[in-house]
């Protein structure tokens, strides 16, 4: 690390005597040997890395790309679109996502009951007097989670990731939840806090500060769900003394619960009869249900998207097994659900959805290769999502899409970029969401099956966007 320098004892005595009207005060101060503080004193890890004169790093971040035809994960530097490192994964057919603070790639394999992590090498630490950014090569790490059965829904919020393990009725394993942070990955925390159920279910958990809102499956006789594996209740778990404890069960049921999202004030769950909203008041949550609107018809909202700074949620209603989808916006404060004016073009189906980094855009990637960028606008005091524009992300003939593959998308958390992977052209395009233009390409030598962005997320800038 740095050279330790020895300071000799400085015996500096400052002595002053002052006589006031009556009283008298004397101060005598002697300076002793100073304490040297290692640079990383607040963090306890003494990683050897050099850093320049500055502590923060300007970088577009890194991109992880899974290959469709091999079990590898490739890491690219987005500043020069160069390949940094390729890692071989244990299994095929993985899903890819990022850790809550975007330092690690999370490789999940549901069938193998496996979650592994790869260090993206770009992260920020808060050193008290300054923010300290680090840039290292991507690195494999040994930390993995293998104790839960069927990790399915991974939900991130505000520095926490909740992993919902569905369990498996066939093998008699039960559902559980584990909550982890980037620090847990860094420190290889052996036992994570979470919930253990005594039944399996296809559920979801939303981490929210000290709370964890997680689904509850009741006895089949009591359950209002048509598919009994889907839970129909939501519990509020509170973190106490190292564990989550059930403090409240929301008063309303949510039959066939699937899909959840949260924003600053609400947590939303998709139910067959509408959307269940949990509204936080201190340590308690009020429950409210917004019934499905006519436009949803026989479908049900099974996927929800939310953003901390977006007042509205986006819900996607579809039939089981695909088919046409209806996209709605849900305004929790007004308890309103509304079909988006914008709907997919004929022949197109949505294959990926996401809010932009700061929530002002909602992105829908469709099967025809268009990235549809929606923006929230206010009309007569009502918020509506309207199309800001479309970006055609491929010049290829989409009928030549390799079997079983599709376009995939990820959103950078440090700017106005989204990245879309094109398996036909074997590249990833960088799309500027304000300008609605492709600004650069990351060339690949394989067809990408999944991508995710890693790096140092940026706080929102003061800007003119409607919120």
């Amino acid at each position: 690390m740095t050279k330790l320098f020895k300071l000799k004892l400085i015996a500096l005595a400052i002595s002053s005597t002052l006589i006031t009207a009556c009283g008298d005060a004397e101060t005598n101060i002697v300076e002793k040997d100073p304490i040297e503080v290692p640079d990383d004193h607040d963090h306890g890890d003494n990683d050897d890395h050099d850093h320049g004169d500055e502590y923060t790093i300007d970088s577009l971040g890194r991109l992880v790309v899974l290959a469709g035809d091999s079990n590898t994960a490739s890491f690219f530097d987005l500043d020069d679109n160069a390949l940094l490192e390729t890692f071989t994964l244990n299994n095929d057919t993985n899903t890819l996502s990022s850790s809550p603070d975007f330092r690690y790639a999370v490789i999940a394999n549901r069938a193998q009951d496996y979650l592994g992590f790869i260090d993206g090498g770009l992260w920020r630490e808060d050193h008290g007097e300054h923010l300290h950014d680090y840039k290292q090569s991507p690195a494999a790490i040994s930390y993995e989670l293998t104790s839960g059965s069927r990790p399915t829904h991974l939900v991130k919020h505000d520095g926490k990731l909740a992993i919902f393990y569905d369990g498996n009725a066939d093998s008699g394993t039960t559902a559980s939840v584990e909550v982890l942070t980037d620090n847990d990955i860094t420190n290889a925390t052996a036992t994570l806090p979470g919930i253990s159920y005594d039944i399996n279910m296809h559920g979801v958990a939303e981490p929210r500060g000290e709370h964890l809102l997680s689904t509850i499956r009741r006895d089949d006789a009591d359950s209002t769900s048509a598919a009994k594996i889907l839970p129909d209740q939501v519990g509020v778990y509170h973190f106490h003394d190292g564990e989550y404890e059930l403090e409240q069960t929301l008063a309303l049921t949510c039959p066939d619960l699937h899909g959840a999202a949260q924003n600053h004030d609400y947590v939303a769950f998709g139910c067959s009869d509408g959307v269940l909203l949990a509204h936080q008041h201190d340590d308690e949550y009020d429950a409210e249900k917004i019934a499905n609107i006519d436009a949803i018809g026989d479908l049900r909202i099974g996927t929800l998207y939310g953003h901390e700074d977006s007042e509205t949620f986006i819900g996607v209603a579809s039939g089981h097994g695909g088919g046409p989808a209806v996209i709605v916006s849900i305004h929790p404060e007004k308890a309103e659900m509304e079909e988006l004016e914008w709907q997919l073009a004929d022949g197109a189906s949505a294959i990926s959805y996401s809010f932009s980094a700061h929530g002002e855009h909602f992105l829908i990637l469709d099967s025809l290769g268009f990235l549809n960028v929606l923006e929230a606008h206010e009309h007569d005091g009502e918020m509506h999502w309207e199309l800001a524009g479309q970006v055609d992300i491929t010049e290829e003939d989409i009928t030549t899409m390799p079997e079983g593959m599709k376009f995939t998308m990820t959103v950078a958390q440090n700017g106005q970029f989204a990245y879309v992977a094109d398996p036909i052209a074997q590249h990833v395009v960088q799309v500027h969401l304000e300008d609605l233009e492709i600004e650069s390409e990351v060339e690949l030598t394989f067809a990408p099956s999944a991508i995710t962005w890693l790096g140092i997320a940026q706080e929102e800038e003061e800007d003119d966007h409607d919120h």
Binding site: T27, V37, H130
Partner: protein, 814 residues
């Protein structure tokens, strides 16, 4: 409802009311000519004290020759002062006529000179009996806030401490039976006072400088909580109480009892209290960003304002003819949430708030003794010794964040002399030593040892219609800290317009070297504060008097004011002691200023009507404090160093914008000295309309400003109020209205606080069950359910006063 001093009645009755050598016998009557029972007649400058029997009669025997000053005291009456000269083998028969006093007059215990609301040169208040029981609350500050000149710093009900004439913290000393309560409540507003009102007998407040009696920590005043833990007699008596309060589901139970034999007396008390988060009429946060105001359906509460405490005291004493000696042990436990103890202060996301609570534990041993001797010079020796072991831990996420400790030893001996050419008084010798330390993330003050030794002389004398009270005290205070730390905190300004702060920080603070050092100092301070006080009370007309008191008081700054360097989460500031200063280049180093004593020059003027159907007390004061230690906002920010490795770091997918950049940073406040002027008044008028009806009106005000312009923070606003009382043998009802005006004289970092009116009422009914006096009561507070934010509170913006509440309770006496 009077507690009968049965023993005294018995003694009086046993004595033949016949002629004895050198006796004074007499009868005490009221202005209607009816006898006054249970009046106490005492001979000043001696320990002689008798009580009138059911015929209003008393006898004082075995008197020596000479002038005797008799002091006659009875509840509800003005005190009477009468001189009688005793000659050889003479007996005197006297009749005392007591006049009614609508303002209760109770003497302060344990001062060598006579102090009461009506008679002394400097202003005092005493809360006792029924009034104390009506006003007692979970915290000392809230219990005393209805007294003129006393406000609460209302720390969300859990840790409120009293503010006397605008001063608090290290300037107001809290004592228990005259000995320092020895907690850390003087260091942080979120630290609770380790003393309990529900088992106390009376609470005394000395307003204005009282360093004369108590030393350095009392420059702004003293609150002395008196109980009978070391019993001075063995009369069997006791009191119990059970109460439920609606606003916070508070449950309280307490009792105290005294009993004993001829030679031994025993005392026990215990209390238990549990309260949930309290309800409030509006959202807790003044500046609430929630969008759902109108739709809010449930009750609002102040999160994390729950409290749970219990304690017991056991005491015993040996009674002998010349006095008593006794010892008492107290165990005091308290657990309370610390509202607003968020890391980084301004975070409006209640869901992100970490619940922090304090777990306080104190063991207190007090040894008290009084020895009346028959010496040529001395007539009484009072000895008080205390040992206190205090610890409180602040717990976050189930782990200990910071531990505060205070271990104090104290000894106080008062030598009371015989009347010496009509001067009464005594010499007081006082030693105190405390070891204070804070360990953990909030350890903003390094460990230190403070020792003080003092000698004080207090004397009084009547010159006709004048009472003169004089006093002087010299003290030596040493503060030693051998590990004062000066870290390199890289304090910096925030540029509000810039969204890219974090980047800028990196550039601005690029270091040439990447190793920081923490400078370490050994600091030794020695102070010699001196206090002088002179007062005169002139009974210029019957029933009226005029008091004037002037004093010069010096105070040694406290360890926290000098040595602090670190994040003080309780106040949401990064505190830097007066030992340090900001250099021109913006970094913090040792101060080049000399560390000096704080000096208060105080004038108090009092005008009273002491008896009759109308009584009043008007006080005006002017207090100029030179070298007043206070904190200034440097405009810089420093990292709290408090939440590293914490899972609550923002920076996930859902970043909330700019303000969170600084979520763990605190504004840097530096202790500086300046000259300060405090002036104001307290007014109290009581009018006994009929035997049953009484009206009290009061008002107080303090203006606290820097001599060179500017206001001190958290100064209570102008306040006025009235109380209507209706009292019969069985029934007692009170209606209390207090108006707090808007406070717009604010310090730079403060905002104006709106005024509000508090309406309280109580009713109680006495009945006798199984030979016990039992009193059932119902008390309503904040009946209009108004939003009341307390300007003097650090939590003004996040914790208003509780909403409407009803307390139902039962109290018994035996």
């Amino acid at each position: 409802m009077n507690r009968r001093s049965q023993l005294a009645v018995l003694i009086a009755a046993l004595l033949p009311a016949s002629v004895l050598a050198k006796t004074i016998e007499g009868v005490v009557l009221n202005s209607q000519g009816n006898v006054v029972t249970n009046a106490i007649v005492e001979v000043e400058g001696s320990e002689i004290r008798v009580t009138t029997d059911e015929n209003g009669r008393f006898v004082i025997v075995d008197l020596k020759d000479g002038l005797k000053e008799l002091h006659v005291v009875a509840p509800g009456y003005a005190h009477l002062h009468r001189d009688i000269i005793i000659n050889n083998d003479e007996s005197h028969s006297v009749t005392f006529n007591l006049k009614r006093s609508p303002i209760e007059v109770i003497d302060i215990e344990a001062t060598p000179i006579h102090m009461s609301a009506m008679e002394s040169a400097s202003p005092v208040s005493v809360l006792s009996g029924e009034q104390l029981r009506r006003q007692q609350a979970a915290t000392l500050g809230d219990s005393l806030e209805k007294l003129p000149g006393v406000n609460t710093n209302f720390h969300a009900k859990v840790a409120s401490t009293p503010i006397i004439r605008g001063l608090s913290g290290p300037r107001v000393l809290i004592t228990q039976n005259g000995l320092d309560v020895s907690d850390v409540s003087r260091v942080g507003p979120d630290h609770s006072v380790a003393s309990e009102a529900s088992t106390a007998q009376q609470i005394e407040v000395l307003r204005g400088p009282a360093t004369l009696f108590y030393g350095s920590g009392a420059i702004g005043g003293v609150v002395n909580v008196v109980d009978n833990r070391v019993p001075t007699d063995s009369t069997t008596r006791g009191e119990w109480n059970v109460e439920h309060n609606s606003v916070d589901n508070q449950k309280v139970a307490s009792f105290n009892a005294t009993t004993g034999t001829d030679s031994f007396a025993f005392y026990a008390d215990a209390f238990w209290r549990e309260a949930d988060d309290y309800e409030i009429p509006v959202a807790a946060e003044l500046d609430d960003h929630d969008h759902d105001h109108e739709e809010h359906s449930g009750d609002y509460t102040v999160a994390n304002s729950h409290e749970e405490s219990d304690g017991f005291t056991l005491g015993t004493s040996y009674l002998f003819d010349q006095g008593f000696v006794g010892i008492a042990v107290e165990q005091f436990n308290r657990q309370y949430g610390i509202p607003g103890h968020t890391h980084g202060g301004e975070d409006e996301h209640s869901d992100e708030e970490e619940s922090v609570f304090a777990d306080l534990e104190q063991t207190k041993v007090q040894l008290l003794s009084e020895y009346n001797l028959d010496n040529e010079w001395l007539n009484k020796i009072n000895l008080r010794a205390g040992f206190t072991d205090y610890e409180h831990v602040e717990i976050e996420h189930g782990t200990v964040g910071t531990t505060f400790k205070n271990e104090t030893n104290e000894l106080r001996v008062d030598l009371m002399h015989n009347s010496f050419s009509k001067w009464n008084g005594g010499l007081s010798i006082h030693y105190k030593q405390s070891d204070v330390e804070a360990q953990g993330s909030e350890a903003f003050t390094p460990p230190s040892e403070t020792q003080s030794i003092a000698v004080a002389l207090m004397e009084e004398r009547h010159f006709g219609d004048f009472l003169v009270q004089l006093g002087g005290r010299a003290e030596r205070v040493t503060i030693d800290a051998d590990n004062v730390l000066l870290p390199n905190i890289d304090a910096h300004a925030h540029d509000d317009e810039d969204g890219h702060d974090s980047h800028d920080h990196g550039h601005e603070h690029a270091h040439e070297e990447s190793t920081d050092i923490i400078r370490v100092f050994n600091a030794e301070h020695e102070f010699t504060p001196v206090s002088l006080s002179a007062g005169v009370v002139w009974d210029f007309a019957p029933s009226y008097n005029l008091g004037l008191s002037v004093s010069l008081s010096e105070r040694a700054p406290s360890a926290s004011e000098l040595l602090s360097f670190g994040a003080h989460i309780g106040t949401g500031t990064y505190e830097v002691g007066a030992l340090f200063d900001m250099h021109e280049d913006g970094h913090l180093g040792l101060s080049e200023q000399t560390i000096d004593l704080e000096t208060a020059n105080n004038i108090d003027l009092t005008f009273r009507k002491t008896q009759g159907d109308i009584g009043f007390i008007f006080n005006a004061f002017y207090n100029q404090v030179d070298n007043y230690y206070y904190q200034i906002d440097t405009g810089l920010y420093a990292e709290s160093g408090h939440d590293h490795g914490d899972e609550h770091d923002h920076g996930g997918e859902h970043d909330h914008g700019d303000e969170h950049d600084h979520s763990s940073e605190l504004p840097v406040y530096l202790f500086k000295t300046d000259d300060v002027v405090l002036h104001g008044f307290e007014a109290q008028v009581a009018w006994q309309l009929t035997d049953e009806f009484k009206v009290d009106v009061f008002s107080d005000y303090v203006r606290a400003r820097l001599k060179d312009g500017g206001n001190l923070p958290r100064t209570p606003p102008l306040r006025f109020g009235t109380e209507f009382s209706y009292q019969t043998e069985k029934l007692s009802a009170h209606l209390h209205v207090t108006r707090y005006q808007e406070q717009d004289r604010t310090a730079p970092e403060e905002t104006t606080t709106d005024g509000y009116t508090m309406l309280d009422a109580s009713i109680s009914y006495d009945l006798s069950v199984l030979n016990q006096d039992v009193s059932l009561y119902l008390r309503g507070t904040n009946l209009t359910d108004t939003e009341a934010r307390v300007h003097s509170s650090f939590l003004k913006n996040i914790a208003p006063r509780p909403g409407r509440s009803f307390a139902l309770g039962i109290r018994g006496y035996f």
